[in-house]
Subunit: 203 residues, 2 copies
């Protein structure tokens, strides 16, 4: 039995009721707004010496570089590459923290193809080494954000026929990320509970 944390007491100042004509996931825009919220939260954590967690730069394959002046390199041909790891990692109270963030406009599920197989492999690898690892999923239609620990996700994915992660399953097995003043996605409150659980079980 997994406790679902409902931080209903938190004000949700950024709550928007977005009405989309389609509930198809918009791959082009996904992650942008969540990314901004996570960057702001991570800035707060860092400036207040709570944690040091950064988004990794998007990997780019550079093909051609011009040098219009001695010290300025101008890239004139390059392509986005698939990341081989997750987007975010860092340290919180001695724990290595690692996660991927995904946003969808879909109202009932996150298609599993949003998370690359090598990202799942990466989460499994760091979890094995003792990381606190998870996926943060935002349903932008509701502006609700959830944290799902890797170990719970892996139990779900043992069923190889699974094609998506449903919101219903996420509500049951994940944890709602509270919105707080200056911390639009305060996922560390959930990580802290996992840290305390590990300390108490000497895991």
């Amino acid at each position: 039995m997994i406790l679902v944390i409902k931080m209903v007491g938190y004000p949700n100042g950024s709550k928007k009721h977005i009405n989309h004509a389609t509930n198809k996931a918009d791959a082009g825009k996904r992650g942008m707004s969540l990314e901004a919220d996570l960057n702001q939260s991570n800035d707060y954590y860092r400036l207040n010496q709570i944690a040091v967690i950064h988004k990794k730069p998007t990997p780019v394959q550079v093909v051609t570089v011009d040098y219009p002046s001695r010290n300025k390199a101008r890239i004139t041909e390059a392509y986005y590459r698939h990341p081989s790891t997750t987007d975010y990692n860092g340290i919180y109270k001695g724990y290595y923290v690692d996660f991927e963030a995904k946003e969808t406009k879909n109202k009932t599920l996150l298609p599993l193809q949003f998370i690359h197989p090598h990202q799942l492999e990466h989460l499994a690898s760091v979890e094995r080494e003792g990381a606190i690892s998870f996926v943060i999923i935002r349903f932008s239609s509701y502006n609700e954000t959830y944290l799902v620990f890797s170990k719970d996700l892996f139990i779900l994915l043992e069923d190889k026929t699974i094609k998506s992660i449903t919101l219903k399953w996420i509500i049951e097995h994940g944890h709602r990320c509270p919105f707080r003043y200056q911390i639009p996605c305060d996922y560390l409150t959930i990580v802290e509970q996992e840290r305390m659980r590990r300390l108490s079980t000497d895991e």
Copy 2:
């Protein structure tokens, strides 16, 4: 008194006696060969489930993107940005590991300007959170590579007049990275000693 580990027993198969007309640091090439060695070492660590440590992608500021076909984004104008963190991080036996790698052709010192102030700040931040953090410095003229823990480096840098890190100081306060078969820069053997020290002192 800090123990300097001399792994004289290790074969140094890649040892080359490079003779450069100048001992000026070559900024354009610095880090390339060390980077290849670190990538190979990290691949070995990862494939053998010893540690999960990755080089972060070089941050690029994308200005213009063309879409010649539906699914292919082609970047046509972009610039390299200064990284705000170190190049490498990951997890080893539950410890968050974070480091920067620098290579110089200079025979006696590493100019301090090779390490950006925000990278030093980042090392201080993660060290405060419990990371094992360090700088790996290669003197390519000798093909010798050293690991210097952040805490030792910070003691040196308390002297604000310091403009460079001398090889003499590095030999005294750092640790020589052994070359091993399949692990051209086996820095984790030194990290392991630090991990054991922390475990024994309950740090």
